[in-house]
Symmetry: D2
Subunit: 341 residues, 4 copies
Amino acid sequence: MDIIVLNRKATENDINRILKKLESRGLKGTISKGTERIVIGVIGDTSKITEDEENTVRVMKGVEEVMRILKPYKLASRDFKSQDTIIKVKGRIIGGKKIPVVAGPCAVENRAMLMNVAEKVRAAGASFIRGGAYKPRTSPYAFQGLGEEGLQYLAEASKKTGLPVVTEIMDPRDLDTILKYTDIIQIGARNMQNFRLLLEVGMCHKPVLLKRGLSATIKEWLMAAEYIMSKGNQQVILCERGIRTFETATRNTLDLSSVPVLQQTTHLPVVVDPSHGVGKWDLVAPMAKAAVAAGADGLLIEVHTDPENAMSDGEQSLKPDAFKKLMSELKPIAKAVGREI
Amino acid sequence: MDIIVLNRKATENDINRILKKLESRGLKGTISKGTERIVIGVIGDTSKITEDEENTVRVMKGVEEVMRILKPYKLASRDFKSQDTIIKVKGRIIGGKKIPVVAGPCAVENRAMLMNVAEKVRAAGASFIRGGAYKPRTSPYAFQGLGEEGLQYLAEASKKTGLPVVTEIMDPRDLDTILKYTDIIQIGARNMQNFRLLLEVGMCHKPVLLKRGLSATIKEWLMAAEYIMSKGNQQVILCERGIRTFETATRNTLDLSSVPVLQQTTHLPVVVDPSHGVGKWDLVAPMAKAAVAAGADGLLIEVHTDPENAMSDGEQSLKPDAFKKLMSELKPIAKAVGREI
Amino acid sequence: MDIIVLNRKATENDINRILKKLESRGLKGTISKGTERIVIGVIGDTSKITEDEENTVRVMKGVEEVMRILKPYKLASRDFKSQDTIIKVKGRIIGGKKIPVVAGPCAVENRAMLMNVAEKVRAAGASFIRGGAYKPRTSPYAFQGLGEEGLQYLAEASKKTGLPVVTEIMDPRDLDTILKYTDIIQIGARNMQNFRLLLEVGMCHKPVLLKRGLSATIKEWLMAAEYIMSKGNQQVILCERGIRTFETATRNTLDLSSVPVLQQTTHLPVVVDPSHGVGKWDLVAPMAKAAVAAGADGLLIEVHTDPENAMSDGEQSLKPDAFKKLMSELKPIAKAVGREI
Amino acid sequence: MDIIVLNRKATENDINRILKKLESRGLKGTISKGTERIVIGVIGDTSKITEDEENTVRVMKGVEEVMRILKPYKLASRDFKSQDTIIKVKGRIIGGKKIPVVAGPCAVENRAMLMNVAEKVRAAGASFIRGGAYKPRTSPYAFQGLGEEGLQYLAEASKKTGLPVVTEIMDPRDLDTILKYTDIIQIGARNMQNFRLLLEVGMCHKPVLLKRGLSATIKEWLMAAEYIMSKGNQQVILCERGIRTFETATRNTLDLSSVPVLQQTTHLPVVVDPSHGVGKWDLVAPMAKAAVAAGADGLLIEVHTDPENAMSDGEQSLKPDAFKKLMSELKPIAKAVGREI
């Protein structure tokens, strides 16, 4: 149901045109006259009214404002599905009592390093191995990833350690290749509104880890999830990774309040990536702990054996020892909020 | 040249490791001891040092901060090319004394409407016709564009009116199709960091209109231009269309100060899209005037014959009469800043 | 009128409690049952319902959302007073056809400099002299202003040039002193929500120039004006001076779209301060022009005879010659929008 | 030490003028010529150079950029004092192993309610009672607080429960009155840069709880602390309460990463106010837990016995039972990070 607020100059004629427009869409308007404004309440199934159609009312003569009551997303909403979505990947569960940790380097740089990291994060208790083979980089002159070679190393690391793979897709043309190697497809922050890519992964049968865009509202983020789900793929994992604000002391501002907000509005699991959220390795541990305390369903943590020689994101990667220490420190916090890690 | 600021606990050993690292990259460090901090100035050709490599220094023991002096973009910089880039498209010039106006509907909705708008904006003095055939929409349930059919109508409108076409690309797989019909390829705000798409249009021989991302800094925007230019296409037009801020009275906050800032830092032309900048048709005219007064090299304005029935962006589109009036009002402002319209 | 949206679990009992609460406040609720939500429209004079009372409904069982239709400001609203407020100060008019320019140094540094600047800006066509005697500075170690000595110089400069004075108040305890010397009292951005100060100047009989807070929405800004007006002082001039965003290329982001937005929502005059808006002297001229083209009712421009030795804001001050040039360049733009300068 | 980066057009003459200027301030410049830019390193005690003076260099001919290395705050810096500041108030400790919780209503509304809340929060384990007697309200028509009457109730509640009082000051003229009743003086977010107020409380002998401004960077926040400390009062407690961003799902965006950032840069204790941070009572508990996990030295939580009839902030207040439950849930999290509650 929508509310149409008229401006002070609205005439009878304006009202009639609006009512007629509503009728043409199978809806009905009820008029309430307040002391200062007339308001038209819209009755009927407004869930089929798109934002575009709403906008056409917004420009009608006599209209001051149009307020939407229904949320624009459906499949992603708790109204639609009240039970938590639980995603199973090769025996790992995302959205359950246990909090899985996805760990690994920002980019797959070479075979040896990846094997090394994979074994170490597995030993420390990680549930998934991550690493980018296709890297979205701000500069065209920066390392862009190893491509399929990187995917092969990921698959090899996965085979060796038993850890399923999470890796990022940047281009719909890479989808078939990536699907051969990965267990969860990651959509990066910069591609959260790459709608074509969303539609493509929506037609896959693998879970999608959807990062929040740098300046995406929670509503827009859920609309991006809706894109994927509208094509049939209901296995969407949301990943908070910080938003852009005026503060420059950290790379982004990790918005941990999105975790409880999402748990109210959606049934999809929410994981947190403190590494990108803060951008500095020595801030990762406190924010990982805070994420678990806030109720996160999982964590994404960048781990690198040699940050001083990393080809990307060295400044925000934990060394394996620091990761191991963090994993053990997270246990009592998980327990304190009724979870396990 | 970079500046490396050491923290208070930095030891001789730390300094030596840093100097050695610089040497391994063909650089030299000069040490200045201040009263509170030691600073290492880096001498040599640091333009080849990527941000990634910079970050590996950032994590070294003893380092507090690394400051970059050189700008990360090169081809897009005024340092690299001091003369204004002028782009010619079928007799129209972008970046010269005359200020071209790109006008048309948000989306191509049908043949008749487009022909109608095209003739009216041409009559009012527009230089280009615009219209989306592939539309990036927040909702998967909203109108997504007519696809190639829309492109055909654009080509027909162009043929009839003589106005060259500007239309948006969302997916690298559409490039060949779009190239058949358009004169300028538009990259939308949401795709400003769709790096694969940037690389693809970088290999084309047609000008690219690159919209600023919702939360892109001017530096990141120029880095996106650099992506295109690094592949050989030097014909990039920057388009300010508003940034995301806390203010909700307007759809976005049109950052007109980006116009003079860019004119100092880059040789590329800068156009302004007040329609998306404000999101409300009755604010478009004052902001279009302000853009010209601020020095914009062009304007993008959404025009629709029937906003009350528009399939997208109706609330921010001018009707042809309002557009015509605006065009005549812009003339004395353009003249006042030494331009023509 | 307010709209109360119920959540899916709202019971008959919840609805009755809400209706009773409305009745206790002299209001009536009308229930509309949509397909997905029940909505209660509130009828009666809701203008007396404070935001606090609204919030008490927000926490009632069964309530999902409360939407406010009426604007929270009254005296400042165009609904309340449709005609433009025109402010007259010693023969100068703010809010009329002519666009007054307030010019002068950031801070009054010494007598000689102020006299010099005052004469030069008057000769160039300024209508008011400005200068800070009490300066809000980010650092306690920075120059804090000359205090009453500075005010005396301002009064002397005013006497000599005939230009009325605009100067800032920071502390209610300075009010009596400042009133002796100034013609317009300035409330700085950092004090826009210093409510005690607003109430004090609201009891004065001198116009108040109210700068927009760094992160104030237009609505909050108008609420600050309402504070002043609620005490009887209707002579409020709004001053856009840039808002804080993620962009660091400029000191702030000058939000020129606030000018036409305000002209729709309030009857108060709106002036623009491009100097603080951009923070760099070589960006002031294009943004001053843009402000006039956008419809500003006035300008505030920092002018200093010797920015290389300024005690504050040197980097954003124009030299007198540059100011003179700008004044002459503004004339045709003012004319183009039906104004004079 | 500062770094002065010259632009490409800088001449020998420009360099000499800059060097002379540095000398006039007792500093020395060392020139490094890079491949693309000349850089002047400034040697000497630059800690006495104010930002204003820095700006006068910024506008000199030939200068492109001035970079500051030293932090602008001193007394607040860990460089100046490496040991944690511990604040003792009537047997309570802020900044130690135990995490004190400040609880109470937003505003003191009447005697009975305050007594009731005070006893309940004490029983639940709170260490301080809070409540506003002078309230900064966005609207002049909203409840503005009971003034001294409210302070008296606070004192009475304190006497009865043994809990020391935290209450807000808005106006320097209220200081003497407030000092009679409070144990900790609160500076609210809107007054973080009310510099006169900062100076006044800087001359007091009571601890000051300094809330972060809505759009204050961490650096600006520390500069506000520096204002207080520069007058002799070293007992400053920083309070993170959320910053303004584009996200509207929560009232503010609680920036928990400020906690570990501050613990690196300052010796002052940092407490977190999740109530204002999120603005919705049902999000307070998860964010309070996250704050403790992130390392907060204390919490501020709004508690009200009857939020449905609260005179302010009802929507973000916990009822006493929910507060009690939260207090017990916080214990294991505090323990997990080596603290107590």
